[in-house]
Structures are given as structure tokens and as C-alpha cells.
């Protein structure tokens, strides 16, 4: 198979908005290509751990150097297109129009298993020559796929879910099985593909893999109609969702993003390995304040995630805890088909056994989540409001009679999040977006009043509808005071309601505060800039919650 087929697939997937069409396209593709190329295709499309061989910046600079093209011109084009790989592809159309070199076809496998890995081993000059040669000898239809693979930016609106569905249809097998087979690492090989499309289900095949996670839906009012006794209530912690898996004595920590994070949390691996039973537990990993028995802010967790092998002092400074809320497997027996209320009973039973019988004390790093028992829905609401006090995001509501399925199935788990904090702020800067927002001003900065000055306090880019984005883009172009590179400073005139989850002191920002997950929730056309909030109001919010 040549790379052409894959490039065609890319075009086909890109030329349809219908999920069913995409599934058909993928099915046909898988049927007509070699397992090894299919394997690489799945690797690329699911985007699990696509390696970036060179950066977008590098690619742009290289083009400039090779073709003696002004860098500022490439950068201007980039602002319009929003993707380095695509900009270079479009510019190559101009350069290779009179292509004279012999066209050289390669396969997807050749590209990914040979050409690109070799690239990393070459010195700078040779590396540049190789890329240049590829540009000159690959058929033009392959330039975009080549550049995108090179820069590790392969996104085609194909989710893991879509791949799962296509393969399930291809071999006529339950989606859940494929979904499970796709969990964890995917190392492209003939075997990996054949394992995926094997019609026979071998129970042990999935030993090293986590279960597909069950995800919570946003709360809906209609459950008020049901009895409160049908539900289990838990705090919604703001940490990392993980499955702790111990099978045949080996312990692994899998995140919801399907990353194995054993190395980042060695103390948890060590302690939980001491438990005598095998198990799969679903829960939340947090940095914990042991003195007050509350979760620490997510920013502390960030200090742990990105560190492979943390030192003892880091472990001490940011102590972690795993709070389990579900038992999915015990000593090789899958518990997911059992009702939640019964899974909970087993979880509690085994937890107390482990606490008493495990050699080293495990309770300083592992506990099970406390349940909350609101009397009625009004009471549940008051619990939700309390959640800021214990640094949680709200409540998780789970149907007691539910089984553990995969994905965001309706009617099983709900997240009942505490109302966001809000401030009305003035739009002062805008920056061009990238990717699908290229060519539009979609990254905004907002300010609050301090005396008579507007001080930037947050940046946000989500929350507006496409129509609003276009309207605002037009306004931005007509109300620019100044330009610095891609950033425009704007006439202070537009007021927006900004919602966010957390507010804390920050020395890095001029405003002295930092907010988490800021987003636009309303375009306040009814407000003038003098109606916008002041920084003092932001400080007040901070005091209210601390």
C-alpha cells in the first residue's frame, strides 16, 4: 500500500460530516489494506501518542531556508491557515508546480517505521536534506499527510469512538470489546491489528488493559422526579481519574487519558502492591492535606503529574492519596455487571479487610470515598453549595441500580457541579485562533477595573456561538487600537460575563489573581464598560470562599 491510500482516507474523512459515512469509509479502508498499514492508521487516527518529529516552527523555518522564502510571509500565511503542516503544503503547491524530480512512492509503514525514526538520528543538515527530498519526491497528494505526521498534528475529527465503531462493525462484534481492546498503549504492529480484529474473544487477552471508563453526564432536572433513595451521592473531586489495577501481582495505574503513570506515583504503587488480593479499582488521585483531611488544589497535582520519578522530598511536599469509589474486578472476577449498591458493599468489605491485614499501613495513601446522604433534593442542593468549603467541584450522583458500562451513557452517573463564579469584564485584547478557528479572532483577554484603569485578569476562548464569534471578529477588526504581532489591542467597549471555577492569589499576574477554567458565558451587550466589575469584587469573591 502506498501512502496515497492513507492520504485519500484523510480526504474522504474530511469530506463528510456524517458519522455513518465516516464509519463506512473506515470499514472499506481497513478491508482493502495490509494489517501493518491499518495498524499505523489506527495509531495515527486515535492520536494516542503521536510522536512529534519536528515542530511546526521548525517546518516553517526549514521551508523559508530551503526555498529562500521570507519568514514573515510564511508567518502571515500561518495566521490565516492555523496549521504549519497545511501552510507548508499549500506553499509547496507553488514550489513544486514544475516538479522535475522523479516521484517516489512509499508506504505508510515505511514512513512511520523506517523513514521518520531514522530522521531523529541524523544530524541537522542531513535531517533538513531528507525532509526537502521528501517534499520534492513525494506525490503532491501526500504532502499534507507527510507534514502532519512529521509535526504530530494528526486530527481529522475521528475519535477513538469512531474507530471503535468501525472495527466493531467490520468484524461484527460488540463495541465494548473493541473499546476494551483499544485501551492502554497501542503499539502498531501486525499483531496489534490482528488482535483488534480477532473475532474470538480470549478472556485473558485484556489482562494488561484498564476497563473503558464510565463517564458522568451533566445533571438534568428530570431526576428530581425520582426518589432520592435510588441514588448514591459522592463528592466530586478535582484530581486525576485513575484505575488502579492489580492482576497476577502486578500493579498498574492508568489514567482516563489512557496513560500508564506508575512512574509518577511510586509510593502508591509500592503500598498498594502489598495488598494480598488482585483487583481493579476506579477512583480519583489527589494531592491531600492530611492535617485538615481535604483535597489540595489541582495546581498541586500538576506539580506531580509531569514528574517521572519524583524525589522523596517531592513526595513529602505533595503527598498523594487515592480515593476509590468503585470496585470493577476482584481476583479475576469481573464485577461490572453487578449493581452499584452491591459493588459498594463489596468495596467497603474488602477495604476494611485490606486495612487490617496488609503489612504496611495503607490508609495514609488509599481510602474509599465517603458517601453523602442528603434527606431530599433540596438538601442535595445545599450539599452542592458546601462543596467549595472542602475543595470539591460539587457532587457526583450515581444510580444505585446501575451497572458499570463504558462511555458517557445516559442515566447512570451525573455530575452536579457547583455554580461557577462570575464577573463581568471588558474585552481588551484579541488574538487569532489556530486549527479550525484560524483566520478569526477567537482568543480573548478580559479586564477588570482598578480605580480608572482596566487590568487584565483572564483569557478565554470558549463559550461564544459561531455566529457570535463571527460578529465579534468583525467588531474586533473595526475597533483595533494597536497591533503587536498576532495580538490586537481593542477599544474598551464590549462587556462579557466570565465564569470560572476557582480564584486564587497569583504573583505572576499583574491583577494579583488567577482563575481556573475561565470561559465566556454571556455577551453583555446590555452593559457599558463602567458596569463591569472591579478587581475589588474579585478579591471579595476570594475572601467569601476561603
Amino acid at each position: 500500500m502506498s501512502l496515497n491510500k492513507f492520504s485519500e482516507l484523510f480526504v474522504d474523512l474530511d469530506s463528510s460530516k456524517s458519522t455513518n459515512n465516516k464509519i463506512e469509509v473506515l470499514k472499506k479502508y481497513f478491508l482493502s489494506n495490509r494489517p501493518i498499514d491499518n495498524s499505523w492508521t489506527i495509531y495515527l487516527l486515535t492520536g494516542k501518542s503521536n510522536k512529534r518529529f519536528v515542530s511546526g516552527r521548525y517546518l516553517r523555518d526549514l521551508f523559508s531556508e530551503v526555498y529562500d522564502y521570507p519568514q514573515w510571509l510564511i508567518d502571515t500565511c500561518y495566521l490565516k491557515v492555523g496549521d504549519s503542516a497545511e501552510v507548508i503544503t499549500l506553499l509547496l503547491k507553488n514550489k513544486n508546480a514544475s516538479q522535475t524530480k522523479k516521484i517516489h512512492k512509499i508506504s505508510l509503514n515505511e514512513l512511520l517505521s523506517k523513514i521518520l525514526p531514522e530522521l531523529s538520528k541524523l544530524n541537522e543538515e542531513e535531517k533538513k536534506l531528507r525532509i526537502k527530498k521528501a517534499w520534492e519526491t513525494l506525490p503532491a497528494e501526500n504532502h499534507l499527510t507527510f507534514n502532519k505526521i512529521l509535526t504530530g498534528t494528526f486530527r481529522v475529527g475521528v475519535s477513538v469512538g469512531l474507530i471503535t465503531k468501525s472495527i466493531a462493525k467490520l468484524i461484527n462484534i460488540d463495541e465494548e470489546v473493541i473499546s476494551h481492546r483499544l485501551m492502554g498503549d497501542f503499539k502498531p504492529s501486525i499483531n496489534a491489528y490482528e488482535f483488534l480484529v480477532n473475532r474470538n474473544i480470549n478472556l485473558e487477552e485484556l489482562n494488561s488493559k484498564p476497563f473503558p471508563f464510565l463517564l458522568a453526564n451533566t445533571f438534568e432536572d428530570k431526576i428530581f422526579k425520582d426518589s432520592i433513595n435510588d441514588f448514591q451521592f459522592e463528592w466530586k473531586y478535582d484530581g486525576i481519574r485513575i484505575q488502579v489495577i492489580k492482576r497476577s501481582g502486578n500493579l498498574s495505574l492508568w489514567t482516563r487519558g489512557q496513560e500508564l503513570v506508575n512512574k509518577s506515583f511510586p509510593e502508591l504503587v509500592e503500598k498498594m502492591s502489598n495488598i494480598n488480593d488482585d483487583f481493579v479499582l476506579d477512583g480519583e488521585l489527589l494531592v491531600w492535606n492530611f492535617k485538615d483531611q481535604v483535597a489540595m488544589d489541582f495546581s498541586f497535582m500538576q506539580k506531580r503529574i509531569n514528574r517521572k520519578s519524583p524525589t522523596k522530598s517531592i513526595q513529602k511536599k505533595y503527598p498523594i492519596i487515592f480515593i476509590a469509589y468503585d470496585l470493577l474486578e476482584l481476583n479475576g472476577i469481573d464485577k461490572r455487571e453487578i449493581k452499584l449498591e452491591n459493588r459498594r458493599i463489596e468495596l467497603e468489605k474488602y477495604f476494611s479487610k485490606w486495612q487490617n491485614k496488609t503489612e504496611n499501613n495503607i490508609s495514609d495513601i488509599f481510602k474509599i470515598c465517603d458517601l453523602i446522604y442528603p434527606k431530599d433534593w433540596a438538601d442535595a442542593l445545599s450539599y452542592k453549595k458546601k462543596s467549595r468549603e472542602n475543595n470539591t467541584e460539587g457532587l457526583i450522583i450515581k444510580k444505585k441500580s446501575s451497572i458499570y458500562t463504558s462511555g458517557r451513557k445516559k442515566g447512570i452517573w451525573w455530575k452536579y457541579k457547583v455554580d461557577p463564579m462570575q464577573l463581568d469584564a471588558v474585552l481588551i485584547y484579541a488574538k487569532g485562533g489556530s486549527g479550525r478557528r484560524a483566520g478569526l479572532y477567537t482568543d480573548y483577554s478580559f479586564a477588570l477595573w482598578k480605580d480608572k484603569e482596566l487590568i487584565k485578569f483572564a483569557s478565554a476562548y470558549s463559550g461564544l456561538t459561531n455566529i457570535e464569534i463571527k460578529e465579534l471578529d468583525k467588531w474586533i477588526r473595526n475597533n483595533t487600537i494597536d497591533k503587536f504581532g498576532p495580538v490586537r489591542s481593542l477599544k474598551p467597549e464590549m462587556v462579557f460575563e466570565i465564569s470560572f471555577e476557582k480564584i486564587q492569589i497569583s504573583k505572576r499576574h499583574k491583577s494579583g489573581i488567577a482563575v481556573r477554567f475561565p470561559r465566556i458565558t454571556k455577551w453583555r451587550k446590555d452593559k457599558k464598560i463602567n458596569d463591569a466589575d472591579s478587581l475589588d469584587n474579585a478579591y471579595k469573591l476570594m475572601r467569601e470562599i476561603s
Partner: protein, 328 residues
């Protein structure tokens, strides 16, 4: 009298204007006298006392808005005088009747390109190279990322797009004047054998083209909604204004596409809401603009209709062309 420093053509209230002749070019509001480069509605506005255009443009405008407009038609190349200034229309290759406008005064030549393209298009006259001292060029696609494929290849892509989905009705959206006729002309040269239906607005323009001696493939006017089941595997051309709203509910099992130069950028394609985009344009691409600047032999160049920053900088730095900016 005009002082030497003052330009013959300038920018006034967002429009090109020649003060000496008291004449506007494609004005966006009613004025006494207007030169019209072509019959697209973003270049024509109601309420001017007098319009001047090519014969074809005059006919197309009347067909679109009725006879109640005072248009003086001219042949391509025919010179006429307004306040001592020689003015003439020259083919710009954008659509049928489209023109560049040349002004000559006191031995000084000015050329306004209007919208133009250099690519092949059998439904209108080819762009004519006109030598000038001052050039005012459009630059809608003034970035090097814009490089048009051969029209023939796009037509083949369109034909394949339809025939590869035989169970679907293919809706191709395009401007009803110019683009639609060009597409019909090109598609008729491919292997596509299905029926082509057109919306009333396109049908009307097709007739007009035929009257003016342009050969346009026969199409079926789409009006009867009952026919819908027979439409699969066939092509329907529709104006972009119908792509949003309830009109599409008349069809079942469709695939949609938009034919426009902007469709060469993936982000714009995805954002457009159409399934597919065909990058075919009636404007010049980057190379086209550079070629016109060069061949016009203009010493001084202005740009309008587009983001001209990059183009201006490139021409000044790389080609040592004197790029000027209008005072606004």
C-alpha cells in the same frame, strides 16, 4: 485643477473615485455617475443617476434588477471621454462582461483591474494585459497559499464526488452569476452523465448567457419538490444563500459542497458547514496578481479588496515595486 501631487483616482467614503471626471467606480451608495466593473451585487448599487458599463454587464444587470436603470453600454476597448478624461473597458476574465477600467489623462494612464482572474474560463473573455502607469488591483487572495489547481481537475473532482455517492443527491453551492456557468461549462466536459438541476436564479442567468452567445449546457430548473426521489446520483446547483435554513429539508440523503477559492483552507472548509469544498475561484491567485503587476509595467501599484499588507511588503522588498496606499 488637479495639482501634480494629487492622484487621479482616490479613495473616498470607502469607494474609488475620480474627482476630475466626478465619476465613481462600483460605488456602494447612490451617486450621480457610476462605472460598473461587473454585474455582481456587491459591485452594483441602486439609485445612481447614470451607470456606465460593458454591453454584457448592462444586459446582465437589467436581467437581474429590471429595465428601470439608466445604463450606458460600451464595447470593450471603446474609448469615451468624461471631462476630458479618456476612459475604456477591458476584459478582466472574472465573469461574462466583467471589465478593467482604464483612465488616460494628460498622458498618464491609470488602470483599475476590478475583480479578475487569469485562469481559463470559456464563459467569458480572457483577461487582457493592459499597460499602465498606475495600477489599482484587487487582492482578495493575496497570499502565496492560494494557488489554483487547473479548472479541468476541479471539474473531474466534482464529477467523481457525485458518481462516488450514487445513492445521494449532490448539492453544489455556488454564486448564481458567473461561477455557476463556469462550473456547468467545465462539468459538461467531464464523464459525468447524470442530470444537472439548477435553482431558478441560476437558470435565469444561464438563459442570459446563452442569449449573449455563450454555450451553456442544458439544465433542468428545479421547482417541483415531488421529484426529489429521482434526484439521487444527480447534481443540483444552488446559490449559497439557500445553504442555511429550511430549504435543504426538501431533500433526503444529500451531500453538500461549496465552490469557492476560500475552500483551499481546511479550517475554512470545516467551518463552512458543507461536507466538501472545491477550491475554484474567479479571482486571481497569488501568482496571478504578481503576473498582472509585472505585465502591466506599472510604476506604482495600489491594492484594495483584501488584506494587502503581505502582498505590498513582498512586492516592495522582493520586486522593488512602488506600492502606494490610499489615504482614507
Amino acid at each position: 485643477m488637479r495639482t501634480k501631487e494629487e492622484n487621479l483616482i482616490k479613495y473616498k467614503d470607502g469607494n474609488l473615485y475620480c474627482e476630475l471626471a466626478d465619476i465613481w467606480i462600483d460605488p456602494s451608495k447612490p451617486v450621480k455617475r457610476a462605472l460598473i466593473t461587473h454585474a455582481h451585487f456587491d459591485h452594483f448599487t441602486f439609485g445612481c443617476e447614470e451607470y456606465l458599463s460593458t454591453k454584457e454587464t448592462a444586459i446582465l444587470i437589467k436581467k437581474r434588477v429590471g429595465d428601470n436603470v439608466n445604463i450606458k453600454p460600451f464595447d470593450y476597448g471603446e474609448e469615451f471621454k468624461v471631462n476630458g478624461i479618456n476612459i475604456s473597458f477591458h476584459p478582466s476574465g472574472h465573469i461574462l462582461g466583467s471589465s478593467q477600467i482604464r483612465f488616460i489623462f494628460a498622458g498618464e494612464k491609470w488602470l483599475i483591474t476590478g475583480d479578475y482572474k487569469l485562469q481559463k474560463d470559456e464563459t467569458c473573455k480572457k483577461y487582457e494585459i493592459v499597460k499602465t502607469d498606475y495600477l489599482i488591483s484587487e487582492c482578495t487572495f493575496g497570499l502565496p497559499i492560494f494557488k489554483w489547481d487547473k479548472t479541468k481537475n476541479i471539474a473531474i473532482d466534482i464529477s467523481n464526488w457525485i458518481t462516488n455517492s450514487p445513492d445521494k443527491t449532490s448539492l453544489l453551492f455556488c454564486y448564481s452569476l458567473g461561477k455557476a456557468q463556469r462550473l456547468l461549462n467545465e462539468i459538461s466536459k467531464t464523464n459525468f452523465e447524470g442530470n444537472i438541476y439548477t435553482h431558478g436564479s441560476i437558470h435565469k442567468m444561464n438563459d442570459c448567457y446563452r442569449q449573449l452567445g455563450i454555450c451553456i449546457k442544458d439544465t433542468i430548473k428545479i421547482e417541483n419538490k415531488k421529484k426529489i426521489d429521482q434526484l439521487k446520483g444527480n447534481l443540483i446547483l444552488l446559490p449559497p444563500s439557500l445553504s442555511k435554513g429550511s430549504y435543504l429539508k426538501n431533500f433526503k440523503n444529500i451531500q453538500t459542497a461549496f465552490a469557492s477559492g476560500w475552500m483551499s483552507i481546511r479550517a475554512l472548509r470545516n467551518r463552512s458547514g458543507y461536507d466538501k469544498g472545491f477550491a475554484i475561484s474567479d479571482h486571481a491567485d497569488w501568482d496571478g496578481i504578481l503576473e498582472v503587476v509585472k505585465k502591466s509595467e506599472a510604476k506604482n501599484v495600489f491594492f484594495h479588496h483584501g488584506d494587502s499588507e503581505a502582498l505590498s511588503k513582498y512586492l516592495s522588498e522582493k520586486e522593488s515595486i512602488n506600492v502606494l496606499f490610499f489615504e482614507k
